[in-house]
Amino acid sequence: MTTASSTKRDYSLVGESTRRAIETGLASAEWYHTDVPRKTMKELMQRSDGPAIRDTIIWIAAVLGSALGIVWFWGTWWVVPFLFVYGVLYGSSSDSRWHECGHGTAFRTRWMNDVVYHIASFMLMRNPVQWRWSHARHHTDTIIVGRDAEIAVMRPPDLLKAALAFTGILDIRYSLPTLLRQAFGTLSEDEKSYIPQMEQHKAVIAARWHMVVYAATITVAIALGSWIPLVLIGLPRLYGTWHMVLTGLLQHIGLADNVTDHRLNTRTVYMNPVSRFIYWNMNYHVEHHMFPMVPYHALPKLHELIKHDLPVANPSMWHAYREVWPVLLKQLKYEDFYLKRELPPTAKPYRGEFHDLDITAAAAE
């Protein structure tokens, strides 16, 4: 377990860490990629509408079916399992649909990606324009402090905040005021730093559409004198986000920052088939970051192909969280502390300075 720097981190995207990342060449850097023959990579990158159409039909049918169950059993305890299913489908699986369709890899057909992307963005209370650009930055500068707009757990970690994330309270507390602010035409300095000027007006328009739908939902709820419209639209962010956080937090938490090798700052975790359906195989996260062109359904194959060059995957979510927990506790006191990923003997090294650091002694002080 090691450190990469001893300087206080500034997570603003227009601050001291930003300046330093640009000066030191960490921003927009050349990242490590495992060698994969072009012919093989071409096969892996091939797009197909089939798998995503099948998965989307299942997804929509399950969303509508569980929504029907909520309406039917409202006022009885039988509603609980339907809320559980609907909440996860709306509040969690929308994240992976947003993600894959944002990359344009889920479907071969562009408009299909766009339609699902916008629906999923709405479910997530995410501005589809803003988040498309923030995610592009996340891939350019993954866990580069001062550059990456999507660092879920900053150092030193706020454990209360991380725990509350499972409830969706913080998510809504951030997302709704953000959409409201954007709907009134104001983008923050951070947002302006990664959304090109020519795209900023689109972010405002998208935010207005989201707010219109929420206003309509509230109006219908008041008119009907019922909570059901809000339980179906909006509130699943509260009661259905937990699976998104459970799986998503593991992507980078506790690992190195400011390194240009995804093997060191990103985690692949083996997961059960249900979670993999909800998460659309994003548990193969090192593979995804290294080769974002590969669609979700080809990631297991890519994993088998390159795992000789990657740290050993965590065998389960439980294993990964048990591994992370002591690192987070240590980071409360030493924010430079992190979990160093060990590469197998078959792996190619890259930028030795990222591997050789050691603060065991400092952490023991």
């Binding site: 990359h103 344009g104 350019t140 062109m293």
Partner: protein
Amino acid sequence: MADWVEACAVDDVDEEDVIRFDHGGRSFAIYRSPDDAFFATDGFCTHEKAHLADGLVMDDIIECPKHNGRFNYKTGQAKGAPVCINLKTYPVKIEAGKVMIDIG
């Protein structure tokens, strides 16, 4: 003024694929479309410095390997976020089994 240079042999590029060609400190991408026509563009994506030759050709689209930005490689047109600036294209001709591009 035209400046034709030999980029590669016709057989160097598979159908519906792309290869990289570097010349005079510049980088280009040479495409072979599914209907067996050849095209050339600047080698790097206009969004960030990623080489398009590592990307995926689908019909008349090249998708950047870094952020999945898409261009029409026949016209250079950017097809939407995260690419907003069109790609420069170059005239191409085939001579004696060689792909020639005009980089002038």
